[in-house]
């Protein structure tokens, strides 16, 4: 036979598992769910068995913590490489690994034992909290708090719509816990006011039906109503970035970048369809000239025609991809295209630069409107270097080598020194570039901030690299391009768009997806994209190279299959946007503003919780007082205190005096008949306080409930509601307690 505590324990188990599924958008690794199920089951079994054996709540929670710790230790030990450090330091390292990965990787994160370990640990800790709320404190409603904590992790980390799935999981989890609580309640006490009799009954099926009848439609209703609220999207929390205004356009690529990133409304600037498995980086322009003022466009000799010449230096690991783009309300003279475009089909007059393969409008007036609302298609050849072979690639000589290799004489010494320091351990040019990228991309070194001073001149660079250590994509890209050039690798800064988010067959690119990234020129590969701005986009696989990487068959096989898919990033991740938002594929397809809805729900819920806190506290007190207690004296005192607080809640006087005197006053305050159970209560109280022994088990909860019901029935609906929502007894009791404390203090001071 299941006991109430067993049912609560199992409910928390099931609820936690459902709630744990909300972390799924964070990682590609689904195996964490098995481990989470293990830790949840272990912790809750401890709770169930402990409570069955009558262990105190404290003992149960301590045992749970112990089990949690052991689980964490064993799981950590299994995850650790066997290199014989001491356990605590090794676990600490595991933790640091997990933190590092979480901070550098973007969701959904790739498989990592450290991250899995941390997630399971977190789920375990939250399980203990949930169990404490449900079983120890008997406040199952509050289980919403730990569940929401789990929900908030992906909600805050992704900053984008999570989709309906995690929301529904949380809802289901709460319904499970509440329904089981309903079963427990109904089995312990049923009161039939009509016949004024109290009967015990057990009707879990009724509770389940009721729970399903209320809970499931509410959940579905909440999701549907949310979808009908389109306007909420603009109600964003004030972001840390300054808000620009004005039309979206791109004349000088670097200057407009910051403004477009800071548009208050994150408008969709273009959508595209591609035969590529993943999204593509759409380049507008490449900045090849650098001087103390920053990166600039080089003068170009334009050619016309839609068939373009081959990309300089490319050939290895390249594949063809077709993209058809529908531009939105975005003004620029450059035609966004994946590098390196081979042909394009667009209306209007276009020309292209054979060195950089930028496509520009050649019409005479209103050139900046050339691409506005234009539909066009581009065929490009995308280079996806195979990492192992790429490691040993040598810097090439691009056609415009005189420009792209030039290091200005006035590069500040600070940058030169820093570059030498970063690359001193790297043996090959590619490893040097990777070292620069990982130095810039390490969140421990640099923070992402669109509030950093705009621009990419030397002053700004020095400030970014040595002082502020905070910036956005242009700073990272410009710094890496300059440093690579110092190390002898031809470089340029490309400006364009991140791949955006997938929405069905098409990809949406927003103004906040505007991006800048460095491209380095390697022999045989041509211009290769790097990604030091790890806060918004994950570095391509070929840039994450280590000295130990040797060409081996399996690696090249995976690289080959990656290049067959003609993707800029072989991993299946969605490339995130520059607004540091990253959406899981398919999850946000509805476009429904879950985060905003949730925020308002949270604010509303928080307010409601504050308002309801006294009522819930009072309810919890009542339950604790009237629930079974091993100490009969405590039970009786609790019942008596409950009567006292009921009177106080109803704004009635609770006199000082003996139980009988007080009972007489209570009786006088009730116009109708007070149930005789009041005498029973008084009798138990007197026995508890003054008799030699109790003579039997006190049955006080039911009489107290009857008297309470009689007292409540004397008042209007409004007074009753007020008594329950704003229980005056809490305030009075607090006052009494404070007075007593003060009094005692006074006495002790006197003595």
């Amino acid at each position: 036979m299941l006991r109430a505590s067993d049912r609560s324990g199992i409910a928390v188990m099931v609820g936690m598992f459902l709630a744990g599924m909300t972390l799924m958008p964070l990682t590609e690794d689904r195996s964490y769910l098995y481990y989470a199920a293990g830790v949840i089951a272990a912790i809750q079994l401890v709770s169930i068995v402990g409570r069955r054996w009558g262990g105190s709540a404290g003992l149960v929670h301590i045992s749970q913590l112990l089990v949690w710790g052991i689980y964490a230790g064993v799981m950590g030990w299994m995850a650790l490489p066997d290199d014989g450090g001491s356990m605590p330091t090794e676990l600490g390292r595991l933790y640091m690994d997990a933190v590092l990965q979480i901070r550098t990787d973007v969701a959904p994160m790739s498989y990592s034992e450290a991250v899995r370990w941390l997630m399971v640990l977190l789920i375990g800790a939250i399980t203990i909290i949930a169990d404490m709320l449900v079983s120890t404190l008997e406040t199952p409603v509050w289980v919403l708090a730990p569940f929401m904590t789990l929900y908030m992790i992906p909600a805050l980390a992704l900053k984008d719509d999570l989709g309906w799935f995690p929301f529904a999981m949380i809802g289901l989890a709460v319904i499970v816990v509440l329904m089981v609580d309903g079963i427990n309640e109904s089995s312990s006490w049923t009161r039939n006011l009509a016949s004024d009799s109290a009967i015990r009954s057990y009707s879990p099926s009724g509770t389940v039906r009721l729970g399903l009848m209320i809970g499931v439609p509410s959940l579905i209703g909440a999701i549907l109503i949310g979808m009908l609220l389109p306007g909420i999207t603009t109600l964003e929390l004030p972001s840390s970035r300054p808000r620009g205004s004005g039309p979206l356009q791109m004349e000088n690529p670097t200057i407009d970048l910051s403004k477009n990133l800071n548009q208050p409304v994150d408008r969709t600037v273009l959508t595209y369809q591609t035969d590529s498995q993943t999204g593509v980086y759409l380049r507008l322009a490449s900045l090849t000239v650098v001087d103390s003022q920053g990166w600039k466009l080089a003068p170009v000799d334009l050619e016309t025609g839609t068939q373009m010449s081959a990309a300089p230096g490319s050939g290895r690991d390249s594949s063809t991809v077709e993209v058809s783009v529908a531009m939105g309300d975005f003004g620029t003279e450059y035609l966004p295209a994946p590098y390196a475009p081979r042909s394009f089909d667009a209306e209007g007059e276009w020309a292209w630069d054979p060195e950089s393969l930028m496509i520009l409008s050649s019409r005479r007036d209103n050139r900046s409107d050339a691409v506005r609302n234009l539909n066009y298609s581009v065929t490009s050849e995308i280079t996806t270097p195979e990492p192992a072979a790429f490691t040993s690639a040598e810097p090439g000589t691009p056609p415009n080598d005189d420009v792209t290799s030039e290091v200005p004489a006035d590069v500040p010494d600070a940058i030169l020194r820093l570059t030498a320091q970063i690359t001193k351990d790297a043996s090959t040019p590619v490893l040097k570039a990777a070292a620069i990228q990982s130095y810039l991309g390490d969140p421990r070194n640099f923070a992402y901030s669109t509030q950093a001073p705009p621009g990419d001149g030397f002053d700004v660079m020095v400030n970014f690299l040595t002082e502020d250590k905070a910036g956005y994509c242009i700073h990272f890209a410009a710094a890496m391009a300059l440093m690579s050039r110092i190390e002898g690798i031809p470089s340029r800064v490309s400006v364009g768009f991140l791949p955006g988010t997938k929405n069905g067959d098409t990809w949406d690119v927003k103004a906040s997806n505007m991006h800048a990234w460095p491209e380095l020129y390697f022999d045989g590969y041509g211009w290769v994209r790097f990604e030091p701005t790890t806060a918004v986009a994950s570095p391509p696989e070929w840039t994450q190279v280590t000295p130990g990487m040797a060409p081996d068959p399996s690696a090249s096989a995976s690289g080959a299959s990656g290049s067959a898919n003609a993707t800029p990033t072989p991993s299946l991740k969605t490339e995130p946007s520059d607004s540091s938002s990253a959406a899981p594929q398919g999850a946000s397809s509805s476009g429904f503003p879950w985060r905003t809805l949730l925020m308002w729900l949270g604010i509303g819920g928080g307010g409601l919780a504050i308002l309801l806190a006294p009522a819930l506290l009072r309810l919890g007190l009542r339950r604790r007082r009237l629930s079974d207690n091993d100490d009969p004296h405590e039970l009786i005192a609790g019942g008596w205190a409950e009567l006292r607080d009921t009177m106080r809640d109803l704004h009635q006087h609770w006199p000082s005096g003996s139980p009988r005197e007080i009972a007489a006053v209570v009786r006088a305050s009730v116009a109708g008949a007070v149930p005789e159970s009041l005498d029973d209560v008084v009798d138990w109280v007197e026995r508890s306080r003054y008799a030699r022994q109790l003579n039997g088990d006190p049955q006080i909860a039911d009489p107290v409930r009857e008297v309470r019901a009689a007292l409540l029935s004397q008042h209007t609906w409004w007074e009753r509601t007020k008594a329950q929502l704003i229980p005056r007894s809490l305030q009075v009791n607090l006052g009494v307690a404070l007075r007593e404390r003060w009094h005692r203090l006074g006495i002790s001071r006197e003595s």
Binding site: H633, S658, P659, R660, E661, E686, Y690, A691, R692, Q693
Partner: protein
Amino acid sequence: MTDVENQGQSVSDAPDLSEVVEVMGRVRGAMETVIEGKTDQINAALTVLLAEGHLLVEDVPGVGKTMLAKALGKSVDCSVNRLQFTPDLLPSDITGVSVFNQQTRDFEFKPGGIFANIVVGDEINRASPKTQSALLEAMAEGQVSSDGVTHSLAKPFMVIATQNPIEMEGTYPLPEAQRDRFMAKIEMGYPTRTAELDMLDHHGGADPLSVLQPVTDSQTLVRLTGIVKDVYAAPAVKEYIVSIVEASRATDSLRLGASPRASLHLLRAVRSRAAMAGRDYAIPDDVHALAVPVLSHRVLLSTQTQLSGRNVADVIAEVVAQVPLPDRR
């Protein structure tokens, strides 16, 4: 009578109180046939009887003081003596006297009026202090010494003394020390209108006492007093009693507070009252109910309180109200 004797022989730690309740109920019922509408006074008298104390009844003439005493005496099958205290009453009239018996040629003890289970001392304040003190000495000690021989008094033994507070001419008011020996003092008070009408109806002709039959006997009473001693008084209740007595000593309204003997008497009376209610434990309500009867004759009002016109009962009720109730074990 026999069935009463067969009940409740064992006195364990949880005394069987049904006999107490039943016997005292019968005595109360019998007395109420004689004295109409005086339940409180009857209860107080019975409480004192079970607590082995003595009772002082104070009120104006003709309200039934003596009737109460006599009714109690007649309800119990035991010896009852009535002593009318006058200024010329001698101590030997109370304690008894040794007289020379010519036939046995020896002194022989002639017991005085005090040798009875229930002694009704009418108008005790009219006797000379010497006589009064002889009575009170005997009351306190439960024995009489005469010519080196100690004579024990009967058991149960209860003195019910009456006094008249109005006619002070030619009286010798009891000193505090002697009043202290009475467990409780009650006032009869005038009957209600209906009670008085009933009285006229019922008692117009014959003497009601003449038809009153005893409903219990002295041995039963002795046994019941033994049971009462086993009623449990929780430490909280004892502390409450001591707190009240201490408060009576501390208050400005009283010139003289209650004595330690008052605490003892109050505790005994409280136990007795609890037993009569069928409880084997005392509660603060017992203390409340008995504080005024047990304490009021032992304290003296301060001059200021007297001038402000408050009476002793009010002051004691006030003192009791000031003492916080024991609500924890």
